[in-house]
């Protein structure tokens, strides 16, 4: 390509490219450049937390953050995410030290088969970061891209509300200590 496009990362067939995942640079090699981010995460980088079911954006089980935006990993062309910050469920909390959202899902009984859970945890973190005290309506709306075949959603909404309440009381006691 000419000088006009110098500096543009052009990824050719089976060329190595680097993705920034959970704070680390990860080389993707021996991959076809038409692969989705979901496929690359699972099959090339061994990050099995993001799940794949529909591969057409309908179920949300592949939800990841790209530059802080919640998106479906299956609808992202992996090679086009070069240079962006990708966060997967593995980047939310280390194994054995669950995030408050993960713990609340366990406590509320919001996990049955668990297939939808990583996507819902990602979506719940994104929701509560933006809107710390969502109404039930808002929770339903914001989690509408995540399908769960087991729970009937009641316990999932309960889990989200628990986190909202506990973060608020944590914040209140922190400000008491500060005053």
């Amino acid at each position: 390509m000419s000088d006009a496009t110098a500096g543009v990362p052009a990824v050719g067939t089976n060329q190595i490219y680097t993705l920034h995942v959970n704070g680390e640079d990860r080389d993707v090699s021996d991959a076809w450049v038409g692969e989705s981010l979901l496929y690359v995460l699972r099959e090339r980088l061994g990050l099995m937390g993001s799940k794949g079911a529909c591969e057409q954006g309908e179920c949300g089980s592949c939800s990841v953050l790209i530059d802080d935006e919640l998106v479906c990993g299956c609808l992202v062309l992996a090679a086009s995410a070069v240079g962006q910050q990708i966060v997967t469920i593995e980047g939310i909390a280390p194994v054995g030290a669950p995030s408050d959202v993960q713990q609340a899902f366990v406590d509320a009984g919001a996990v049955q088969c668990g297939f939808c859970t990583p996507g819902l945890i990602m979506a719940t973190h994104a929701l509560l970061d933006r809107s710390p005290e969502p109404s039930e309506y808002e929770i339903r709306e914001e989690l509408s891209g995540n399908v769960c075949r087991c729970t009937g959603y009641g316990r999932i909404i309960d889990a989200v509300q628990r986190v909202s309440v506990s973060r608020r009381s944590d914040a209140a006691s922190a400000s008491e200590v500060a005053s």
């Binding site: 450049v33 299956c74 609808l75 086009s80």
Partner: protein
């Protein structure tokens, strides 16, 4: 297959000129479904959703227009400050897919796909949007009504990019209404956008999912203009009925796996009436 991530418009146009068969990728919510499913193949992809010029928007108060870059997402259109400039587009945006989809899906992608069910499109039609195109050879503007030539067919040439759209910022009610099988993540069975321009004394009605492209309903529009009291925001019940019927006549629906033609036409009648009453809630001569 190669993938190029463009950061400037020049990069994008140069890459497209170098490989005119390349496929433009924006949010990927239509294209990746086709690639994942093996329904579409391409030897080159040019990703444009990080191009600054395409990611930005501009309100021109003097001209009363809003320019929206092609890579502006539905999540951005649904939120302030854009929602106040283009209320019907914001309403349409809120009905698109799910939060994940709205975060990725762009208005340019909706225009590029040119599905008659695209939720942004009836709004662009009702507002007589202008679609801005560019290639290395130069720029051109196309009226929205001329952009799509059939379902998923457009006047876009190889090597050409949609850079954005321009819509007027109107003073008057505008709304979008959609019928589908459920509340979230649903393709429109039928949809309609109504936009009123009070100072310009016009009423525009555009219909989605009931024809090969988005349709306008000129007979209904003329009827509403004749019957409406623009200052009082009022219209009589007979005119509302007639408006719905005329909207139904403008629809050219088909039977398919999602719905029947008869149901779609009926839905259009109801949506059109409902939108007109929202636009003109008063009764003539009444309070």
């Amino acid at each position: 297959m190669s993938v190029t991530v463009a950061h400037t418009l020049d990069d994008a146009l140069a890459s497209l000129a170098a490989t005119p068969t390349a496929t433009v990728l924006a949010g990927g919510t239509d294209l990746m479904v086709e690639l994942n499913g093996g329904h579409r193949r391409t030897d080159a992809v040019v990703s444009v959703n990080r191009v600054r010029e395409l990611r930005s928007w501009r309100h021109d108060p003097a001209a009363a227009t809003l320019h929206i870059g092609a890579a502006v997402t539905y999540a951005e259109l649904a939120a302030e400050p854009l929602a106040s400039f283009a209320p019907a587009l914001a309403q349409a945006a809120r009905t698109v897919g799910s939060p994940q989809i709205r975060n990725a899906a762009t208005i340019g992608g909706n225009v590029g796909t040119a599905s008659p069910a695209g939720d942004g499109l009836p709004v662009l039609s009702a507002l007589d949007a202008v679609v801005h195109l560019a290639s290395l050879a130069g720029r051109r503007d196309v009226a929205f009504a001329e952009f799509a030539t059939g379902p998923k067919r457009t006047v876009l040439q190889p090597g050409e990019l949609i850079t954005g759209i321009t819509i007027p910022v109107l003073s008057g009610y505008q709304g979008y209404a959609k019928v589908g099988v459920r509340n979230a993540m649903v393709i429109a069975t039928a949809s309609a956008c109504l936009a009123v321009d009070v100072p310009g004394r016009s009423v525009r009605l555009a219909l989605g999912s009931v024809g090969p492209v988005i349709l306008r309903a000129p007979e209904a529009e003329a009827l509403a203009v004749a019957a409406a009291d623009f200052e009082a925001g009022a219209i009589d019940a007979d005119a509302v009925e007639a408006f719905g019927a005329a909207a139904g006549r403008a629809a050219r629906p088909i039977d398919d796996h999602r719905s029947s033609a008869a149901y779609r036409r009926r839905a259009i009648e109801v949506l059109a009436r409902r939108l007109l009453v929202r636009a003109f809630p008063g009764t003539p001569g009444g309070e």
